[in-house]
């Protein structure tokens, strides 16, 4: 039942990984920037992993893209924007305040505020 619902992603190819799928960049600063970015990008085939964590061939091809673009001097956020343009916010793990997500940030603050007001009220009542 669950298997029949699974998307068509089960098969795998037998091609060797992309050149920069597993090879680090020579420049340690660039590699660190690439690594930071890869940890916050979602693997599209294994959607609960980052591309840094995944051994899926497509994640390897995405790491290759990230590394060659950063090696070419592209800003990591430009690479993220390039992917977000194609796959939506979904591809990025980094929390972003936007027209859709602002309640996620506002509601906890609101709850803390309400709790503080209630607590202050009760403490005052007890004191009097």
């Amino acid at each position: 039942m669950l298997l029949s619902l699974a998307p068509p992603l089960a098969a795998q190819d037998s091609m060797p990984p992309a050149p920069f799928a597993y090879r680090q960049l020579d420049d340690p600063t660039q590699e660190a920037a690439a690594q930071d970015l890869m940890e916050t990008l979602r693997c599209l085939k294994c959607q609960s992993q980052s591309i840094a964590d995944s051994d899926a061939p497509m994640a390897g091809d995405m790491r290759h893209q990230v590394r060659i673009r950063i090696a070419a001097g592209e800003d990591p956020e430009a690479v993220r924007a390039w992917l977000v343009q194609r796959y939506g916010d979904y591809v990025s793990y980094r929390p972003e305040v936007s027209a859709v997500t602002w309640p996620l940030f506002a509601i906890p603050a609101l709850l803390v505020l309400i709790a503080a007001v209630v607590l202050a009220g009760r403490l005052r009542r007890r004191a009097s």
Partner: protein, 174 residues
């Protein structure tokens, strides 16, 4: 006792109900491309095997709408959609195939077994074009109009019921 005492319990039951409902819903893993409506990104890919033509962005700018089929010989649902691609070919639709991470001998074997509906078959060994057009798996099929603009994306294999819809999308792209 005030009715308000029960409020947290009802709230909790509400959340529980919502979670239970969501668990019964089928999981949707499809990621739609944000490139629909945009120009096809530049690419120029070599042929996937001997005796066929590779594919480039320029092939899509001759005024004829085309299908761009992202597939692979190692992809099982691609076998399931082969008869539908054949029907689209018979309807006169030019179909450009891009084989993702594939070997030429495997491509040749797949086409010998399941038929060749393609006018061009290119190889994308690093999934570069796949990433550039916002495709997240195989198979996916894009409708490209005669000016090289991506007009429609079909996710997953083409079922029998999708053929008429794709023909209509191609007509709209004319």
């Amino acid at each position: 006792m005030s009715w308000r005492v029960w409020l947290p319990l009802f709230l909790f039951a509400g959340f529980l109900g919502l979670a239970a409902y969501q668990l019964t819903q089928p999981k949707d893993d499809f990621v739609e491309s944000g490139m629909v409506g945009e120009a096809l990104p530049y690419f120029d890919l070599p042929a996937a095997m001997e005796g066929v033509n590779g594919a480039a962005t320029t092939d899509f700018k001759d005024g004829t709408p085309r299908l761009l089929n992202i597939w692979a010989s190692w992809c099982l649902p691609c076998i399931a959609e082969a008869p539908q691609l054949e029907r689209l070919k018979e309807a006169g639709v030019p179909i450009v195939g891009i084989a993702i991470r594939d070997r030429s001998e495997d491509v040749a074997r797949f086409l010998a077994q399941h038929g060749n509906p393609y006018t061009r078959i290119a190889r994308d060994d690093l999934s570069e074009v796949q990433l550039a057009i916002g495709s997240s798996g195989v198979p996916e099929t894009f409708v490209i109009d005669g000016r090289g603009i991506i007009r429609y994306q079909h996710l997953g294999d083409i079922r029998e019921s999708d053929v008429a819809m794709l023909l209509a999308e191609l007509e709209k792209a004319r």
